[in-house]
Subunit: 387 residues, 2 copies
């Protein structure tokens, strides 16, 4: 069979440019990588011990497809206490990381042909999921509003797409790639336009535990519980990226449908990870905080150094990224800059293009201070060469 | 939002009746269950130790989305030696169990509206995946041909659906729920009609290591390599159901597209399970055989006992199921029979209805001999009560 006989919703979507770029530069054994969005920390010891106990206790059989009861109970409690979520265990599905939760949510909420607003720059998986589900991705440039989506931008997107039934919007708070967080007022300002237009919120709060400067995390689910699906998980808060555990929170009825999409996608996440995750949520309340303090120090350092080098940025309030505008002096697109930085200076940063803005680079500081310093040196050398 | 505003491809598909039935009867603390399709064995010790080593070695970061190189290399070698598969590592994607591999395959191969032939009785997930992907599921009754799909049945399905472009057929060998295996001749007989009509084979070979009576496993990929996708995994051969690891094998080009669908579905399977699976494939060649010998003994015993009770069946050649026709004396549908057996005799067997044949029950002998004997006693009592 020819490729063009396959499903065009798959063939027309490119594989993740982020992972491809990272894979490419990883061939250089001397590369210092500030590319991928994953903690450089390891899984906390007590969670590792819980996983080992699950293995020795032979917790290797099929868990219930929603996830084991203990884990959904623990997630209900943990996120209620941390973020004020208001979901019982039967409104929570355990997913194979946040990605699978997003995939099940997109598949369930949208009919082919409907529209989804994606504030850009954005994590590229949202646009890919729109493509995979045959949706119209309506990219809204937020670089003019400090990377925060405004109600005016939502209204303008609606007005500009009269033929498209816009059914959802993705809110990533804290944001990947910009590190920007929404204040309570900024989120609340979106409520009316979303309610009036019956636009579902797909609220990606995976970085919600990583906020700086004493900021507090808010969720649109507080005001729009009947039209919000939250995706969260332990990848970032507990450094469990490769272990693949996420959670989807949603209103009764709707979440049952998402659970079905999830079931036919994966059956259920890995059993031993589910048991370990109970430990993470019940005795790992302090885990994220320890990492957060370290991330914040790195963030402060890196932001100051980048500014010295001439990079402009919106001050990040969370996550572990800085989205920095490439100095004019370079006259380079993000891909050219990142390629040159990797090839000549052995420093990996992510080009902004896959996120939707070719003027920027995304620098992850989920890496050691030594790596961050080495990366700054490399960038300084590159910029020096342009003078 | 109302449920009817969601994606009808999800809302119209029922959640797994198998898991729902199992969940229901599991509320009875005294139930003896021969319901679910998973080994009663635990993960072999050396694989558990490999998983523990991966945990202590902090293999907790994102693996490459196709799966780690070592695992794809090991899968290439293991399945080449065991079944004669002819796939290099770059033609293999590691999936979250066979389910996720099937989901990615269905999503990639088919455009909405196309048809897929599903020989019935069948594992219900195939029909669900057809629904989720907006395909026409063409169920072909194989109870008239000893549960083996024949070329005449394929041709008849094509002739009966002139409006539907039939693009695929699912072959489950050994078969769930019937336990029937295809001989080399039976598989080879399908080659011409599938080639002439450009029908892709989705070959679910997850039970391929569990064959009885010295039978050998064959795969249509030997004759139709350019139009076969194989789904396999370690759930059944290594008793790793809850750990969630599967493999998709396919021709270059096509498999790259399946890898993309997989990436946007889950990113990748759990890292520690991937490392443990390398151990399973490189040093666990004998694991399945030990279990197989025990399954075969149970199968022989159970088949004989069921025949004494008046159940008719096609002699199973593999997997760990017997699909038995409920004796006429009962005058019961499969759901009525299974419900009564569970409620009055505390024995759980799966009704045949979700598999597509309400005259049968599926009895899994992936359970201890004590449980099997207790189940036989329960069924004997039920049958006695009908006389």
């Amino acid at each position: 069979m020819e490729i063009n006989e396959l499903n065009p919703d798959i063939t027309s979507v490119a594989p993740s440019a982020l992972r491809a770029f990272d894979h490419k530069i990883s061939q250089d054994p001397n590369i210092v990588k500030l590319t991928l969005g994953e903690p450089d920390f390891n899984v906390p010891e007590h969670i590792k011990l819980a996983a080992i106990k699950a293995i020795t206790d032979d917790k290797s059989h099929y868990p219930y497809y929603w996830g084991i009861q203990e884990l959904r109970d623990a997630a209900s409690e943990y996120y209620r206490e941390k973020f004020g979520y208001n979901y019982t265990a039967d409104q929570i599905v355990c997913s194979v990381g946040a990605t699978e939760g997003l995939a099940a949510t997109f598949k369930t909420l949208f009919k082919p042909g409907e529209g989804v607003i994606i504030p850009a720059p954005a994590y590229p998986v949202y646009k890919a999921l729109a493509g995979v589900n045959h949706l119209k991705a309506i990219m809204v440039d937020t670089s003019t509003s400090d990377f925060v989506l405004t109600p005016e931008q939502v209204q303008a997107a609606i007005d500009a797409n009269p033929e498209t039934p816009i059914k959802g919007v993705v809110i990533t708070d804290p944001c990947n790639p910009t590190g920007v967080i929404y204040t309570e007022d900024q989120l609340h300002a979106l409520v009316d336009v979303l309610r009036d237009n019956k636009i579902w919120v797909i609220s990606d709060e995976i970085y919600g535990k990583l906020l700086y400067g004493g900021a507090k995390h808010y969720s649109l689910s507080a005001w729009l519980p009947d039209q919000t699906i939250i995706v969260n998980g332990l990848s970032k808060s507990h450094a469990m990226t490769g272990w693949r555990i996420g959670f989807v929170f949603g209103p009764t009825g709707i979440i049952d449908e998402i659970a079905k999409a999830h079931q036919f996608q994966v059956t259920t996440p890995t059993s031993i990870v589910q048991y370990a995750s109970v430990e993470a949520l019940t005795h790992g309340q302090a885990d994220a905080e320890k990492m957060r303090v370290i991330y914040e120090k790195r963030c402060t350092y890196l932001a100051a150094e980048l500014q010295k080098l001439g990079f402009e940025m919106v001050k990040p309030g969370g996550a572990f990224y800085i989205f920095a505008k490439i100095p004019e002096i370079c006259h380079q697109t993000s891909v050219e800059f990142a390629d040159e930085l990797a090839a000549k200076y052995h420093v990996g940063v992510m080009p902004g293009k896959p996120f939707g803005d070719d003027r920027y680079i995304r620098i992850s500081y989920a890496s050691s201070m030594d790596n961050i310093k080495a990366a700054v040196s490399g960038m300084a050398e590159l910029l020096q060469s342009k003078k």
